[in-house]
Symmetry: C2
């Protein structure tokens, strides 16, 4: 069991790096970092959110998300609004430019993924995703 | 297909962050970073190697590996030897202290993994690993 899990975790690490390099090359003309892209995508999926919620959703620290949000704000891709529910956490919101940027990046990724010659069936992909989610839950991340 | 692949890639990103946080907490008393740990593990598996080989094996840049090797060398966990085969690339080699450090970290990880309450069978884990390897190959990383 532990050996099979080791092998899977190593594949996760290796694929993560390959995904990062593919995305950097795909988005090399965008000013947004991959971390910034993940924040924009979170806001598309979940709507306006405060930094602690984004951090929890992505399993990273608040400090990390705060730095990404600051950079996105300088690029005018997100705005920070007063938040009646949390006096100390401003609500992070996509600007129209931010929405355009993440839509453009997502379309480009979609074209890349659609063009892949992949030796795996959709069922394999879904099953692998479920297995990774179970491992994440066991390791202490929310499922 | 693309939707199933999207879902899998998102699970990879999420699990990668959870693995990183679990490892940071597990190894909080070690001076070695997670990147440094990956270099030490590469040297255990493959023996002494030059920086470009380690970078290729982990799908990251040479500059990134060089910085990790420099930090490990300051900690006296690796040594750099003259390399008759590559005049410009010194051979990176584990020191006895480096070997002890990676063995200690690996034992600690093994205890953590053995203790996980995992809702996935070894077969699921192996199949997921094979699927991730196929995705990596399609994305341009070596299988």
């Amino acid at each position: 069991m532990a050996h099979a899990l080791d092998g899977l975790l190593d594949q996760v690490r290796l694929l993560w790096h390959v995904m990062g390099r593919a995305a950097e090359s795909l988005h090399r003309d965008e000013p947004v970092t991959l971390g910034g892209r993940a924040v924009l995508e979170f806001l598309v999926r979940n709507g306006p959110a405060v930094v602690p919620d984004i951090a929890r959703g992505r399993h990273v620290t608040r400090q990390h998300i705060q730095a990404l949000v600051n950079a996105l704000r300088e690029l005018r891709l997100v705005s920070l609004d007063d938040n009646p529910a949390h006096r100390r956490s401003a609500l992070v919101r996509l600007t129209p430019e931010g929405r355009k940027a993440i839509d453009r990046m997502t379309r480009r990724e979609r074209r890349l993924l659609d063009g892949l010659a992949l030796k795996a069936r959709p069922d394999d992909l879904r099953r692998a995703a479920a297995t990774l989610s179970a491992v994440r839950e066991a390791l202490g991340g929310r499922p």
